[in-house]
C-alpha cells in the first residue's frame, strides 16, 4: 500500500518512470533524521513476518526501495563500475587478483583506467568477481548482473544476486557487521548477506554447498548433515506489533563504515600497529569522511580531486577540493600561508604531494589495504608479506604534477600479438603452472614462491601449445619475458609498467608537511622525495633487491635531479652574497642621491 502510494503521488517529478522520486527522496528541509520503523520485504516483494513458515532474507531493493528510488541510487559511483558510459575519471585503486601458485597479481577493474584489465579478460565472470571481491563491495554493480555463463546460471539462482546493501553505509547501529557480510559473500550467500550483516538477524548455512537445483523458496531436506542450507533467524522481539522493525538509519555515514573498505596498513616499524599510527588530520579535527565526500540521491559521490568538476555532475565537486575549502575557510578549514614557498611549487606539485600519505622515507614502505588484502574479514592473512605487494608514497607524475601514489608491479601470464599483451584466462594458466610450481613451494606467509627463470621458461613452453594465437609471455618486475631462440629474454614493455594510483589520505598536519622545516625536506642530496628507493616486486629470484629511485617515476633526469639538489647547498651563500651586493648598491645610491639632493636644495635656496 505504501509502495503504491509512493509511486502514484510523485510521478510529476519524473522524466521517465525510472527517475520517479519516492517518499524518502524529496527533501522537506528538516535536518532531523526520519525514524525508520518499516516493513521488511523479500526479493519477490512479499512482506516478511515473524509468523512466516519459511523465514526469508529481506531484500534492500524491495525494503529500502519502497521509499528510495533504487534505480537512481544504483547509478552512483560505488555501484556503476560496470556501466561503460560512466567516465572513469582519475585513476583509482583497482581490485587485485592474486594467485601465488600461478605467480599472478594483476590489477582488475570494470572501469577504463589505463593499466588495469577487465576481469573478463582473465576469464572472471561478474558472478565470480562478486564471489572474489564482494566482501568489500557495498553490493550492486557486477553483483546484480545476470550471468551469461551457462555453468553459472544455476549457481546464480542458488546464490541470488548481491543487491546494493544500503545498511553497509547507512546503518549506524553498532551491530552492523560487515565482517559477517564478507563471510556470507564467501559462502555465496549473496541473497542473505545484507540480512546476516544487520544487527537483528543471523544466517547459517552455505549456498556454496547446495546443489544447482536447490531452491531457496522451497528448500529440500538434505541428507548430508554437513551441508546446511542458508536459513535466516530474526532476533526475538525485533518486530513490533505491526511487524515492522527499527533500522538505525543515518544520512551522514559514520567513519567506521567507510573504514571497512577503505582502511590501510602501512608496513613500517613505526606505524605497524593501529595505536601507533595517526589518523587523518581532518578526522582528528572533527570532520567525517562524508563532510567532504558528499552525494545526493544519485550517490554520485565527490571524490575530491583537482579538475573532478570537469568529469563529474556532482554540483559540489568544484567546491570540495583541497584548494576550494582551504582558500575559503569552508568547514573551518585553515587558510595556509605557505611561508617561503615559491609559487612554482603549486604548478609542479599537488597539495597531496606535501600533505598526504606517510612522509617519504628512504625506502618506500609496503602497504596493505582493505580491498586488496581483505582487512577486517575472517579470511585475512595478517602476514606483512601476503600478496598482493603494494608500495605506498611513491611520488610520481600525475597530469603534469607530482603526487603521492600507491604502486603495484603487475605479474601475469599473457599472450602477445603485434606488441599488444592480453592476459590469459586463469583456468588455462593454473593447470600448467601447477606442473612446474608445486603447492609445497608456497610460503605460509602468502608471499611469492621463489621462482627461477627456468621455471618461467618451462611454463611459457607449455603455454605455447595452449594458445591459439599470439606468443606466450610473462610479465613481472617491470619486464616482459618471452622465449627467444630457446632462451628466456627480458625486455621493457608498456604492459610491464607498474600501475600507480594517486592517494590523498591520511593527510598530515601542516607542521608535518614537506617543507615545513626547510627547503631541505625535499631539496637535498639525500632527500627521500627524489632519491627514495622503490622496490621492484617480482617473484623471480634474480630480481630480488632491484630498486628504482623516486625521480624515475617523476619523469626527471638523474643528472639534473642530483645537480639541483646539490645546488641547494649554496643557497645560504646566495642569500649572503646578494644581500651584501644590494647593500653596496644601496649605499652608492644613497650617497649620490644625498649629493643630488644637496645640489637641488642649494639651487632652490639660490646659493652657488
Amino acid at each position: 500500500m505504501a509502495t503504491l502510494c509512493c509511486l502514484t503521488v510523485w510521478p510529476c517529478f519524473a522524466d521517465d518512470t525510472n527517475e520517479v522520486r519516492l517518499l524518502g527522496d524529496i527533501d522537506d528541509g528538516s535536518l532531523a533524521i526520519p525514524v525508520h520503523i518499516i516493513l521488511l520485504y523479500d526479493e519477490e516483494g512479499g512482506k516478511i513476518s515473524p509468523e512466516d513458515e519459511l523465514t526469508l532474507p529481506f531484500s534492500t531493493k524491495q525494503t529500502c526501495g519502497a521509499c528510495h528510488n533504487y534505480e537512481i541510487i544504483k547509478k552512483g559511483w560505488h555501484f556503476n563500475a560496470i556501466d561503460p558510459n560512466v567516465s572513469a575519471g582519475r585513476k583509482a585503486q583497482p581490485w587485485i587478483f592474486v594467485d601465488a601458485q600461478t605467480v599472478t597479481q594483476i590489477p582488475l577493474s570494470y572501469r577504463k583506467f589505463e593499466g588495469v584489465y577487465h576481469p573478463g579478460k582473465l576469464g572472471i565472470s561478474p558472478w565470480k568477481f562478486t564471489e572474489l571481491f564482494g566482501r568489500q563491495m557495498p553490493g550492486g554493480g557486477p553483483g546484480e548482473l545476470d550471468t551469461d555463463d551457462y555453468d553459472e546460471i544455476m549457481r546464480q539462482s542458488v546464490s541470488g544476486k548481491l543487491e546494493i546493501n544500503c545498511l553497509s553505509c547507512h546503518n549506524a547501529d553498532h551491530g552492523q557487521d560487515q565482517t559477517e557480510y564478507a563471510s556470507q559473500v564467501a559462502l555465496q550467500n549473496f541473497r542473505w548477506a545484507a540480512t546476516a550483516a544487520c544487527e537483528f538477524a543471523s544466517v547459517k548455512g552455505s549456498a556454496k554447498d547446495m546443489s544447482e537445483t536447490w531452491d531457496y523458496m522451497m528448500p529440500d531436506v538434505l541428507d548430508d548433515p554437513d551441508k546446511v542450507p542458508p536459513t535466516v533467524k530474526f532476533n526475538k522481539n525485533v518486530f513490533d506489533n505491526k511487524n515492522k522493525v527499527l533500522f538505525d538509519i543515518v544520512r551522514k555515514v559514520p567513519v567506521k563504515r567507510c573504514y571497512f573498505c577503505h582502511s590501510n596498513k602501512i608496513l613500517a616499524e613505526k606505524t605497524s600497529e593501529k595505536w601507533m599510527a595517526d589518523e587523518d588530520v581532518h578526522l582528528s579535527a572533527g570532520l567525517s569522511c562524508v563532510d567532504c565526500h558528499r552525494n545526493g540521491l544519485d550517490h554520485n559521490i565527490v571524490r575530491g580531486y583537482e579538475n573532478e568538476a570537469k568529469k563529474s555532475s556532482n554540483p559540489l565537486a568544484k567546491t570540495s577540493t583541497c584548494e576550494s575549502c582551504h582558500t575559503t575557510g569552508r568547514l573551518g578549514a585553515p587558510v595556509p600561508e605557505h611561508l617561503g614557498i615559491p609559487v612554482v611549487h603549486f604548478t609542479k606539485l599537488t597539495c597531496t604531494a606535501c600533505h598526504s600519505g606517510p612522509a617519504p622515507v628512504e625506502k618506500a614502505p609496503g602497504l596493505k589495504t582493505s580491498r586488496a588484502h581483505a582487512l577486517g574479514t575472517h579470511s585475512v592473512n595478517k602476514s606483512d608479506e601476503a600478496l598482493p605487494h603494494i608500495t605506498t608514497t611513491v611520488l610520481a607524475e600525475q597530469d603534469g604534477k607530482i603526487a603521492p601514489h600507491n604502486l603495484i608491479w603487475p605479474a601475469f601470464w599473457g599472450s602477445m600479438k603485434e606488441e599488444q599483451v592480453a592476459p590469459i584466462a586463469i583456468n588455462i594458466v593454473k593447470p600448467l603452472t601447477a606442473k612446474v610450481i608445486s603447492k609445497k613451494s608456497l610460503p605460509p606467509s602468502g608471499d611469492w614462491p621463489e621462482v627461477t627463470s627456468e621455471q618461467i621458461k618451462k611454463i611459457l613452453t607449455l603455454l605455447t601449445s595452449e594458445l591459439e594465437e599470439g606468443v606466450p609471455v610473462y610479465i613481472c618486475g617491470g619486464k616482459l619475458y618471452q622465449i627467444d631462440k630457446d632462451k628466456l629474454k627480458a625486455e621493457e614493455h608498456e604492459a610491464a609498467k607498474p600501475y600507480l594510483w594517486p592517494i590523498a589520505h591520511n593527510v598530515r598536519s601542516a607542521a608535518q608537511s614537506l617543507g615545513a622545516k626547510s627547503c631541505g625536506d625535499c631539496h637535498s642530496t639525500d632527500s627521500a622525495f627524489f632519491f627514495g628507493s622503490v622496490a621492484v616486486d617480482s617473484p623471480l629470484v634474480a630480481d630480488k633487491g632491484v630498486v628504482k629511485q623516486m625521480f624515475e617515476f617523476q619523469g626527471l633526469d638523474q643528472f639534473y635531479t642530483k645537480a639541483f639538489a646539490w645546488s641547494f647547498m649554496f643557497r645560504p651563500w646566495f642569500k649572503i652574497v646578494t644581500l651584501c651586493s644590494c647593500s653596496i648598491i644601496s649605499v652608492v645610491l644613497l650617497l649620490y642621491g644625498l649629493k643630488a639632493l644637496a645640489c637641488i636644495t642649494k639651487i632652490l635656496a639660490g646659493k652657488d
Binding site: 605557505h338 617561503g340 652608492v588 649629493k595
Partner: protein, 209 residues
C-alpha cells in the same frame, strides 16, 4: 600578460634602436680605417688605460656576459613556452644571478663618480636656473643618456635582486610570493631594456669619438 608586455617592450626597443641607426648612420666611405677597427674591437666598450681601466673593462664585460645568460634563461621559458622557469635554465639562472649582483655592485662603486650629472647638458636649463655646471668640458654624444641608464640600472637592480632574495626567507606567504615574482619579472624586463639601451649607446658613443 607579462609575455605580451615583454614582447611589446622588446619590440619597441629594437624598433627604436633600428630607427635610430638608420637615421644617424654615416655613409660607409666616410668611415676611416681606424674607426672600422674601433667598431670591431669588442664593440668599443670603454678603453681607459692602466690596471684599473682594464679591471673596469673586464668587470663590465663579465657583467654583460652574466646579463646575457640571465636574459636567455630568464625570458626563454616564460615568453616562448609560457611557463615558469624550471629545469636546467633555473639552475643556470640562479648560478649567474649572484655573480651578476656582485658585478653590478662593483660597477656601481667604480662608475658612480664618473656618472654624476656635472656638465652643461641643456644650456637652456643652465640659463634658466642661472647656474654654472661643475665641469666646463662639453658633454659627449649620448653622455647624458648613458649616465641616466647607469643610474636606472642601479635603481632597478635593488627591487630586482631583493624581490627574489626576500622570497627565500620564511617570512612571506603566497600572496607576497606572487607579488615578489611579479616585481622580479617586470623589473627584470625594465632592467633588460635599460641594459640593452645602455650597451647600444656605448657602442654609438665610441663610434662617434
Amino acid at each position: 600578460m607579462f609575455s605580451i608586455v615583454s614582447i611589446t617592450g622588446f619590440a619597441v626597443l629594437f624598433f627604436v634602436i633600428i630607427l635610430h641607426c638608420l637615421c644617424t648612420r654615416q655613409k660607409p666611405d666616410k668611415l676611416s680605417g681606424e674607426k672600422r677597427k674601433c667598431l670591431l674591437s669588442l664593440l668599443c666598450f670603454e678603453c681607459k688605460s692602466g690596471f684599473l681601466g682594464i679591471l673596469r673593462k673586464l668587470v663590465y664585460l663579465a657583467a654583460l656576459l652574466c646579463f646575457v645568460v640571465l636574459f636567455v634563461t630568464g625570458f626563454y621559458q616564460p615568453l616562448i613556452n609560457g611557463e615558469h622557469i624550471s629545469g636546467f635554465p633555473i639552475m643556470i639562472h640562479a648560478t649567474a644571478a649572484p655573480v651578476f649582483a656582485v658585478f653590478i655592485a662593483i660597477l656601481a662603486v667604480m662608475w658612480a663618480g664618473e656618472c654624476v650629472f656635472d656638465k652643461n647638458y641643456w644650456p637652456w636649463l643652465t640659463k634658466l636656473l642661472q647656474r654654472q655646471p661643475k665641469s666646463d668640458s662639453k658633454p659627449q654624444r649620448y653622455e647624458f643618456l648613458l649616465k641616466a641608464c647607469f643610474w636606472a640600472i642601479l635603481v632597478l637592480a635593488l627591487p630586482l635582486i631583493l624581490s627574489i632574495v626576500l622570497s627565500m626567507f620564511k617570512i612571506f606567504g603566497t600572496s607576497m610570493q606572487e607579488l615578489f615574482l611579479d616585481v622580479h619579472r617586470y623589473t627584470s624586463l625594465a632592467t633588460a631594456i635599460v641594459i640593452i639601451l645602455h650597451t647600444y649607446l656605448m657602442i654609438r658613443s665610441q663610434e662617434a669619438k
